[in-house]
């Protein structure tokens, strides 16, 4: 069944006609063309599809698009502000925290939500925060370094 869906994504308002049973992940990727949000398992176990909903990390593969109509959705495409990359984006690139890059969008967004809540986290807290975002390339070492480096600058 189709319905008209209004979404607020990355500061922009969208109005689309789409199926009601679609997840936010499907709507972002298929209807809005925001393919930065990745589909790694589709069952909420890998974290690659993480977006921010009202600032909180959310698995878009387990979110009904229809259920987040009134929310502020931020995807990786919306993280840079006025052309200026978010410090996490820079740090991930510079510190070698990105290899294949498939987990990166979710990883960065989770880290952002976390740093917004925790100004000066300990290493163990960073690890816990990103532990739902699986990465098979980096062994997490440089990811944790990158997140900590941003928190130090905060």
């Amino acid at each position: 069944m189709k319905h008209i869906l209004k979404l607020h994504v990355n500061g922009e308002d969208y109005e689309i006609l789409t199926e009601i049973h679609k997840t936010l992940l499907e709507v972002l990727r298929e209807d809005l063309g925001l393919t930065g949000t990745k589909r790694g398992c589709d069952l909420g176990t890998c974290g690659a599809c993480t977006v921010l909903i009202d600032g909180k990390p959310s698995l878009s593969c387990l979110t009904l698009a229809a259920a987040v109509r009134d929310k502020k959705i931020t995807t990786i495409e919306g993280l840079a502000k006025d052309g200026e990359l978010h410090p996490l984006q820079k740090a991930f690139a510079e510190k070698g925290a990105i290899q294949c890059g498939f987990c990166t969008p979710g990883m960065i967004l989770t880290s952002k939500a976390f740093l917004d809540e925790n100004l000066k986290p300990k290493e163990e807290e960073v690890k816990k925060a990103i532990s739902g975002n699986l990465c098979r390339c980096t062994g997490y070492v440089k990811i944790v370094e990158a997140v900590l480096s941003v928190s130090e600058k905060q």
């Binding site: 199926e19 990727r29 925001l34 393919t35 930065g36 949000t37 990745k38 589909r39 790694g40 398992c41 589709d42 069952l43 176990t45 890998c46 690659a48 995807t75 990786i76 495409e77 993280l79 840079a80 990359l85 984006q89 820079k90 991930f92 690139a93 510079e94 510190k95 070698g96 990105i98 290899q99 294949c100 890059g101 498939f102 987990c103 990166t104 969008p105 960065i108 960073v126 690890k127 816990k128 990103i130 532990s131 739902g132 975002n133 699986l134 990465c135 098979r136 390339c137 980096t138 062994g139 997490y140 070492v141 440089k142 990811i143 944790v144």
Partner: protein, 757 residues
């Protein structure tokens, strides 16, 4: 070597920001107008004859535009090793494991495709199945492939020296059994393929592949069209680790439907399919007998290795051969008898995975070496140092080892973990261990093993670099660009690279066997050197200098003798143009590993690889003796990669490998019951999370290999060989229990501790 400017720098990956901003496009991120979505129907039986496939139900689903089964496709088998082809893109007569491909649909939406799959009716005649490789080898076992009546689809029996005699000469003989488990590569990006075909019958395929040129060949074969009618393009690939080496049904079906329907078609696998129906690291059963001399010399080894291959071959002959030859490094071993078997079972299929057959045997050797050192009263580090192979030594299997920093890696790893202070001296529950290994840097002289590159110097002084190499996230494009930039004397940012498009970029074998940096790096260096030569010729003429006296560095051409004299790189390009030389300035490189007694090893001995990397991993673990839980606290990865073209990326390789190896030691196991994968999800299949990641100290040992570009060898796969045995050896140091079967779960630790009491 003169001072290096670009090589050796910790440059971020060229595409890091693209990936950090969501701009990077992976196969599933691509779509084309009018695109259809595909799905595959898989077998619910481990072994069955296909009697009839009824597609009519699927075709009735609204939005479905096509449905095919095995009888609709060309009867063309494929397989990554030409001599071991045994698979159809869709099963034709029978299915051989749960998850085998039976039929496929293409529809206007994924919803329709999913529904259609559920409407296909298949009549099977269920056959007896066999799940244990030892059972499968017995006479009378169900035959999985008619051409292989004994189910042993690849085997090797190889003797070096005189093993019988050597065992008689040995002062001590040790014999142990080992077992390793099935490991899934678990790249984060699921396999995907998007294809389109034009009216001339030409097919373009975007695929999550790590070997585009092999894929082109296999796809052409299975579609039964000329290679010239196939173009394979590799978008960003989200990790492969060997799993993206094979052609899969999704590639074939996307292309087949695209040809048939003249519409773009996309297939993307579910995570579950990644576990059940792609590839995995072969589980091994190993019996290892080792003869030792009193002084600690490893005198003889006898190996019997049985690899559970699952339902198809994939890389079988190569895998079992690698397992054999890499017993012969990193230790000096004059006498080896190796018997290896790749055995079919009705289970998920084994394939190349980071280390390719070697992690399994290395586990056995390194674990046993610790038992030996204990019994003989020699320090495990000492025994390894004593037997460590050295550069330039004649090798009994004729491997040509021109650079070897193994001893250094042993010493550095031991130092890093605090061996002298800790080994045998930590409180109960805490321990350290180490293990060594060696790996090839690519393969010498096998068909399809050369790599090409093209370097163009553009009018504005920027560089266009074409390489066939397939970056799957390891940073190959960055490293190859660094090599080209170094050779040309420009900056990394001057290079624009286009890679892995079979129509545009020159041939390359792809990402496997850890050969990319050496192979594609050398090709790029040759191409850069040729272009550089052309430019310098013009500059030399203008400067009235001897071309040999000229050097380029930091975008500046200058005289070595009188560095004040010179011009900018861009000026040199102008000079070239205005001297009526033909534009564009192009250099090409075609590199093939040198043919000093080269071999695939499949038939005869010889040198397998242009260079060999060496590594030692050391681990410190904590075992909670109340619960059996093991925590890896620290790992040291000392690695002789020849030269780190980009130390940050090398570290990344080491760190990722270590955590993967730790997964193999402690957490990961693709469990099956009657051929069905019990844990096809990240909830039940335990790839380590950030919580498990230990602190990792990477130590690079540079040996400047004469064959590698700027001395570089490999760092991709070798490091995953030794973490598991290092951890297992550390567990022994911690609690005095030996584990010969992987993975070591808390449950097993608890049981062992209780037995010990």
């Amino acid at each position: 070597m003169h001072k290096l400017n670009v090589v050796g720098k910790r440059s971020p990956m060229l595409d890091a920001l693209e990936k950090a901003t969501g701009q990077a496009r992976f196969t599933d991120d691509l779509s084309l107008p009018g695109m259809l979505f595909g799905k595959i129907l898989r077998s619910p039986h481990p072994h069955a004859k296909i009697l009839h496939v009824d597609l009519s139900g699927a075709l009735k689903v609204k939005g479905v535009q096509g449905a095919i089964s095995g009888k609709d496709i060309p009867r063309k088998k494929y397989g990554i090793v030409p001599m071991a082809k045994d698979e159809y893109a869709l099963a034709i007569d029978k299915v051989r494991y749960i998850g085998d491909e039976v039929a496929a649909v293409a529809a206007a939406s994924l919803d329709a495709a999913e529904e259609a799959i559920s409407k296909i009716r298949v009549d099977y005649e269920v056959l007896p199945a066999v799940f244990d490789p030892l059972e499968s080898m017995k006479p009378g076992a169900p035959v999985i492939h008619e051409e292989v009546p004994n189910n042993i689809s690849a085997s090797i029996r190889k003797e070096f020296g005189n093993v019988e005699k050597a065992f008689l000469e040995s002062d001590f003989v040790f014999e142990n059994d080992f077992e390793t488990q099935a490991i899934n590569h678990a790249p984060l990006e699921p396999h995907a393929a998007l294809s389109t075909a034009d009216h001339s019958g030409k097919v373009t395929l975007w695929s999550s592949t790590q070997i585009p040129f092999f894929l082109r060949r296999n796809l052409a074969t299975t579609l039964d069209i000329p290679e010239s009618k196939v173009r394979v393009i590799k978008p960003k690939v989200g990790g492969g680790f060997g799993q993206k080496i094979d052609l899969y049904a999704k590639d074939f079906c996307a292309a087949f439907f695209a040809m048939k329907m003249k519409k773009p078609v996309k297939f993307v696998y579910e995570r579950e399919e990644m576990f059940t129906s792609t590839r995995q690291r072969h589980p091994f059963r190993i019996r290892l007998k080792t003869g030792m001399k009193k002084d600690g010399t490893i005198h003889a080894q006898q190996f019997r290795a049985i690899a559970d291959g699952g339902a198809y071959n994939s890389t079988a002959p190569l895998m079992i051969t690698l397992a054999c030859y890499f017993i012969m490094l990193p230790y000096r071993l004059e006498n080896l008898l190796f018997e290896g078997y790749h055995v079919y079972t009705n289970k998920p299929v084994g394939g190349a995975m980071r280390g390719h057959g070697i992690p399994q045997v290395r586990f056995a050797v390194e674990a046993q070496l610790d038992m030996i050192s204990e019994k003989m009263g020699i320090d495990p580090l000492e025994i390894r140092l004593k037997n460590a192979f050295l550069a330039g030594e004649p090798h009994p299997a004729k491997l040509l080892v021109q650079s070897c920093g193994f001893s250094d890696t042993l010493k550095k790893a031991a130092e890093g973990i605090g061996w002298a202070e800790k080994r045998g001296k930590l409180p109960f529950g805490r321990g350290v261990g180490l293990a060594g290994a060696s790996f090839p840097s690519g393969v010498s002289n096998m068909s399809h093993i050369s790599s090409g590159a093209v370097v163009k110097i553009e009018r504005d002084g920027s560089i266009t670099l074409l390489t066939g190499a397939a970056d799957i996230g390891q940073g190959a494009e960055t490293v190859i660009s660094q090599i080209a930039a170094e050779e040309l004397g420009v900056l990394l940012e001057d290079i624009r690279i286009t890679a892995a498009d079979t129509e545009i970029t020159p041939l390359d074998p792809g990402t496997f066997g850890s050969g990319v940096t050496l192979r594609a790096g050398n090709a790029a260096r040759m191409a850069a050197s040729e272009a550089r030569g052309k430019l310098l010729e013009a500059a030399a003429e203008k400067m009235e200098a001897d071309i040999k006296d000229l050097e380029i560095r930091d975008r500046r051409v200058f005289s070595k003798e009188n560095p004040e004299r010179g011009m900018s790189f861009q000026e040199a390009v102008k000079v070239y143009q205005y001297s009526d030389r033909p534009m564009p300035i192009v250099g090409t490189g075609s590199y093939m590993p040198p043919a000093k007694e080269p071999t695939t090893l499949l038939k005869e001995d010889g040198n397998f690889s242009p260079a060999y990397s060496f590594m030692t991993q050391a681990a410190e673990v904590q075992v909670d003796t109340a619960t059996g839980k093991i925590t890896v606290l620290n790992m040291v990865a000392a690695h002789d990669c020849g030269r780190a073209i980009n130390p940050m990326l090398v570290e990344g390789q080491l760190e990722g490998s270590v955590v993967g190896g730790m997964g193999q030691a402690l957490y990961e196991d693709v469990m099956t019951e009657k051929g069905q994968v019990l844990n096809p999800s990240f909830l039940d299949y335990g790839i380590p999370t950030a919580m498990e990641a230990p602190s990792i100290n990477s130590v690079e040992v540079e040996t400047d290999d004469p064959e590698g570009p700027f001395g570089a060898k490999e760092s991709g796969e070798g490091t995953q060989l030794a973490p598991a045995p290092a951890i297992i050896n550390a567990i022994y140091d911690a609690i005095g229990v030996r584990f010969n079967i992987l993975p070591v779960t808390p449950e097993k630790v608890l049981e062992a501790l209780q037995k010990k009491e």
